[in-house]
């Protein structure tokens, strides 16, 4: 039934949007964090989700998250010679999280989630109308 297939597409999209909202929130929350990697202290790198098309069991093209990668934005630097993690010249690296980008992307994701919900509601209404024909 194609109406139900449409609903399933929407559900996969909703999953993706949920995950994206999670990633953006995580970026904002960790904008001042420091990661310990390979024996070095590094500032937190902002992450972004990369999506791909995949076909589910019924051959319907839906969406899913392929991988979550670090962004390539440059790190901010401030002059702070008193900080324990600053380099020999007295500069301290800060994370590359861009608040404005994260907020806008978050709003986009939540709007797309709402759009999918509305599609599902419309489909439900259509199916109920079809059932009403049998009465």
């Amino acid at each position: 039934m194609s109406l139900i297939d449409t609903m399933n597409m929407c559900s996969s999209s909703m999953n993706v949007e949920e995950k994206k909202i999670e990633i953006h929130t995580n970026n904002i929350a960790n904008s001042e964090s420091i990661e310990y990697k390979n024996g070095k202290f590094n500032p937190y790198t902002a992450k972004v989700a990369i999506l791909e098309i995949y076909k589910n069991k019924n051959g319907i093209e839906t969406t899913r998250i392929k991988e979550i990668v670090d962004t390539k934005d440059p790190y901010k630097k401030i002059y702070n010679p008193n900080h324990p993690l600053s380099d020999s010249k007295g500069y301290l690296k800060l994370s590359n999280v861009n608040y404005l980008n994260e907020t806008i992307n978050y709003l986009n994701a939540s709007k797309r989630y709402q759009a999918n919900l509305e599609i599902i509601q419309t489909m439900k209404y259509m199916i109920l109308k079809t059932i009403a024909m049998c009465k």
């Binding site: 139900i4 609903m7 399933n8 929407c10 559900s11 996969s12 909703m14 999953n15 949920e18 599902i120 439900k124 199916i127 109920l128 059932i131 009403a132 049998c134 009465k135």
Partner: protein, 132 residues
Amino acid sequence: MLNTINNFFEINKTILNLRSLKEEFIASNIANFETPNYNKKDINFEKIKKKIFSINKKNELFITSKKHMKAHNYEIKNKISMFLKHENNYKTNNKININEEKIKFLQSSLEYDLDIALINKKIKNIYLAIRG
């Protein structure tokens, strides 16, 4: 006479029971969304259909022309309780997609609505037959 009317609704009774059972399973899947090593439960309607409907070839209508349609007489088996075994389709770790489950729940509730509508239609037809 009454016996035939009773048999009329036997299949509807079975299907409605199965639908409500499926909704129970989906609700339990959603409830155990974060339970580790939980096996997803689902009903395979295709298998059940093959079990319930056994086509009687003895009671087929006599056909005199190639253009006549075949009319199958479906006989419903009495042992319905044996079909109500749940099937664990997924033996992997818990990977329940909550949105998918919600959509499934919506789908099965709509199918339930459809069945109720069809039963109403059947009852109306019986009234029509009685009153003429």
